[in-house]
């Protein structure tokens, strides 16, 4: 697994719960290691262990933990560059949804060996969509649900999101776009480097 993934979990735990909690997580999940390097590759088995240990140590149900991580990735000030990269996907929330199909390829352009869950957006009409997430790690649907919720806020769009469960190993998230320009949204200037 790409170090960026483990590093993201590490940052999430430290930024939201503190370094002591992180030490407790890593002691259970991957003894002998205190932090992960974003640019290294780690054994695939470590990541699920980290997530399960985080869920236990932080006393947060696994699906909610995944949602929190998804939202954290695109809304925490420490990860502003990532939010900006997501905003390059589209001018409004709908445009952004359409860009999700390309997200794994976009990620690969930036970091060649980064493998994201496979995403597929189906349009049901009248502002209703279903996003299928197929990843190596359980709960990628919950992760994207949290991420989409934060991105909707970022664009100022009013949406409802719902995890529809798993079909043949693929997690389904339903999206209803109620109002594209519901609130102000956060600023995004193309030319300002975060």
């Amino acid at each position: 697994m790409h170090g960026l993934v483990n590093k993201a979990i590490q940052s999430f735990v430290i930024d939201n719960y503190g370094a002591t909690q992180w030490s407790a997580v890593v002691r259970v999940a991957h003894p002998g290691c205190t932090e992960f390097e974003a640019m290294w590759t780690y054994e695939d088995a470590i990541t699920p262990r980290l997530l399960e240990a985080s869920s236990d140590v932080l006393d947060r149900p696994y699906p909610e933990l995944m949602e929190d991580i998804g939202a954290y990735l695109v809304s925490h000030p420490n990860l502003e560059p990532l939010r900006r990269l997501m905003r390059f996907g589209g001018m409004d929330f709908e445009d952004f949804l359409y860009s999700l199909d390309d997200l794994p390829d976009r990620a690969r352009l930036a970091v060649a060996d980064l493998e994201l869950p496979r995403l597929d957006l189906r349009e049901l009409g009248e502002g209703r969509y279903v996003l299928s997430c197929e990843g190596k790690i359980d709960g990628s649907g919950h992760l994207f649900l949290g991420l989409l919720r934060a991105m909707a806020d970022d664009y100022g769009a009013l949406v409802t999101l719902d995890h529809q469960g798993v079909q043949n190993g693929v997690e389904q998230v339903s999206i209803t776009l109620l109002e594209a320009a519901f609130a102000e949204g956060r600023e995004f200037e193309l030319g300002v480097r975060a």
Partner: protein, 355 residues
């Protein structure tokens, strides 16, 4: 209504940085994004060549020459701002005597986006500019992460080197390793000899044949020294071309002399490196724990040093044992300048002149 309006509307979507020039050379249409670079004022009705300067090719100064350059890549800038370099291509149309000039920011798109506060809506949906900006940010974020990693690795490496007991070039102990071993052996009350070996003419090899040759020679020297002692002895590289050996459980000077002279003889053999012969030699000085009532690391190193310099003064490629006399002579010599100290030293049978 102008008959060309539908075509101009098309152009404004497909090429939002278009500028249309009429038969008289006046600007008659400016696309919405092109308008942004004028910072609010419209250049319509002004002469194209009053607003833009075509830098390359150089001779495009009128509508005829602009028309003749149709389809070619043009480099232009605004008269008002030499800094804003633009790429462009001119084509005839859409009106009978009109010329459409389509502008692009080229590689300066990043600066332009900042300077004119452009948004995704300012670029044609098919334009790759947004993808380019995305890539630039993504790559700088990835690069920053890599740089952070390099910095951390570098400092970890420096720390590891500082704590290392081994010389990375030769694999011998380094000064720290030697000090640790010496302290341990003295604490255990072991009997041993401390031999200081210093290469002669090594600097000449480095200077004339280069550092690669110098490094190769040091590695070869390390091999020779290692092969001449037993596995429980210690060989350390303590400086550029200085080595210290700790030889355990040898109390007899003749045996030590033999070992030293054999090493010196082998070190005096030319070492071939990339078709050149590297010619060095070595001098050695030795002291033994049995010389002292209470052996002390610092004292032993200084005494082996004195013996070594006696070897050097006696003509190099020699081996000398420390004596009280040497120390007395050194004290005497201070201030009086160095002379031949006449210490008893032995030299191996060496073929050829090593000087």
């Amino acid at each position: 209504m102008d008959a060309q309006t539908p075509l101009r509307d098309m152009l404004d979507v497909l090429c939002p940085m278009n500028v249309i020039v009429d038969a008289d050379g006046a600007i008659c249409n400016v696309g919405p994004t092109a308008l942004r670079i004028f910072g609010g004022y419209s250049p319509v009705k002004k002469s194209f060549f009053d607003v833009f300067e075509v830098a390359r090719p150089r001779d495009i100064t009128c509508t005829q020459s602009l028309r003749a350059a149709a389809g070619r890549k043009l480099h232009l800038h605004l008269h008002a701002s030499q800094k804003r370099a633009l790429k462009a291509v001119a084509v005839p149309g859409p009106g009978p005597d009109e010329i459409t000039v389509n502008l692009s920011f080229g590689i300066s798109v990043i600066d332009a986006v900042r300077a004119h506060a452009l948004t995704a809506a300012d670029f044609a949906p098919t334009d790759l500019a947004i993808e380019m900006l995305y890539l630039m940010e993504a790559k700088s974020a990835a690069m920053e992460a890599s740089r952070g990693l390099s910095r951390r690795l570098q400092s970890a490496r420096a720390q590891a080197e500082q704590q290392a007991l081994t010389d990375t070039l030769t694999g011998l102990s380094n000064r720290r390793g030697l000090d640790a071993m010496l302290a341990e052996m003295l604490a255990e009350g072991e009997e041993f000899a401390l031999m200081h070996v210093d290469l002669d003419y090594f600097k000449a090899v480095n200077d004339t044949l280069g550092h690669a040759a110098g490094d190769f020679v040091l590695q070869r020297v390390a091999e020779i020294l290692r092969s001449e002692v037993r596995s429980h002895d210690t060989v350390a590289r303590t400086g550029g071309d200085e080595f210290v050996l700790l030889l355990r459980q040898v109390a007899e000077p003749p045996i030590l002399d033999q070992i030293a002279l054999r090493m010196i003889e082998r070190l005096t053999q030319p070492i071939p490196f990339e078709g050149e012969d590297c010619q060095i030699s070595a001098s050695a000085g030795t002291t033994l724990t049995s010389y002292y009532e209470v052996a002390d690391a610092e004292r032993m190193i200084t005494d082996a040093d004195l013996a070594l310099y006696a070897s050097k003064n006696a003509g190099r490629a020699r081996h000398t044992f420390y004596t009280e006399d040497l120390r007395a002579r050194m004290v005497e010599r201070r201030g009086a300048g160095a002379g031949n100290d006449g210490a008893a030293s032995s030299a191996p049978e060496v073929q050829g002149d090593v000087a």
